[in-house]
Amino acid sequence: MVDHAGETSTEKLVFDHYTVPVVAAQDHLLVTLRKDGEKLLYSRKLGEEMLEKTLLARDGQLLFNPVEPINKPKEISPFLLVEFEQALLVQAKETVEIMVTFPVEIASIFVNGDQSMTVLDVFCLTAPRYTLYGSPITGMICRYWKSPVYLEPPAVAPYREGILEVSIQNATNRWIEVHKAVFSAHDMKIYYDLQQVAMRGYMRILSVNVAETGFTGESPSRTGFQAKKAVELLSSRKHLVVGPRLLMEEGL
């Protein structure tokens, strides 16, 4: 863990602990946490959006942590839909490993002296969009993201995009064309180091229009990826309706 100890100069945002006073900036983002007498003042400015909070604590640390990308601009849906820029054809009875990107949302987490944590804020450096998957009656609203399909880890800015490794298994007896993958953010296990944010999912194609998706929970096993597990926001909330696995029944 790199501890950015009490430096008042502006630093680039990295996923790590910062000791008060904190001044972190990235693109149009500026986050500060500073002492004000017996309390701490948190402020975040992103474009024209501004957030300020007062913490009744004398000291502590600020942790920037990638979280499930379903919180901005408000929590509308626990589903993430990644549309592939090019349709992907998967051979019958074949399993392929691909990589796509996903939007990264960042939580500012205040860590008190006794290691208790509280989420101060969640922000996102990419523009969030939403889409409807399926029909207005039986479908679902999903956080939308469009990504090329990669076979090697792409070079992406970790505070904007993460890498989602997907193992696609075609359990049918025919070639299947895949245009998108929908995941439930429940049980989304995100791993990160200073350079990358990543997670591992799977997609099991059951027929031309139906597939099962989910997350393995394992750390991506690429060489050089010093994986650290991110704090999960969704698991701390009570979502009885949404399970970790999702059945895509409205087309692939």
Partner: protein, 276 residues
Amino acid sequence: MIISRVVYGDVTVLNILIAILLFTGGLIVSKLLAFNLRRSFREKLNRERLELIVKVFSYTVILIATLLVLPQLGVEPSGLMVAGGIVGIALGFASQGIVGNLISGLFLIFERPIKIGDNVSIGQVQGFVEDIRVISTTIRTFDGLYVRIPNEKVFSENIINYVAHLVRRVDYVVSIRYADNAEKAIGIILRVLQTHPLVLVNPAPYAYVDELGDDGVNIIVRAWTPTMEWFGVKTEMLRKIKHALEEEGIEIPFPQRTLWFAEKLTHGREQGDSQQ
């Protein structure tokens, strides 16, 4: 002793006191159960499901308490079965409206065309469903009025549920001058829509020239949003579209009419010439 005094039949004052205690106890248990169910499941279940569960448990406790109370009052529940038929017919005639409301209420609860918290229109009443009880449904109108509608009426009226589906469409008619480039205007409108996080990618927003109107070119604009965000998006987007069009020099036309006079108007020009 007064406690052992017979009030009627074999029922003594003590029996009546026990009956009151049992029924009061049942009511208290029912309230406590409802309170604890609401407290425990408020975060886990949506309000409508939670209220249904609370009602089922509360009414079950009250029913059990009533069945326990009846023998104390000299009424055997088995006797009710026989008497129930005759009493039922009499009550049926006497309370047709109430029974109708009750049955409609049960259908509403199980068919669920509306749920607690939904934004609905029932007949002439528009607002949020506050509660669906067995006899009546209560609505909080948009201007904050409490409206109680008998369930029979709810059941027979046309119901519009604005939040029954996941997504809802926002519609605008944007008028521009004939001098403005309609294609450019459509491009600007779509760009504004596509940059809003709550305008859905699919179904995609679209805009087209719908009418060459008296005063300007009318462009229809349609975009889909999550139903719960519809009002916010609708109120926000029109303002943004107007600003974006104005920034690009495209204006909303005023009503105008060209008048042709049979004789040439010279009054104004002559005045101007004389001043020079």
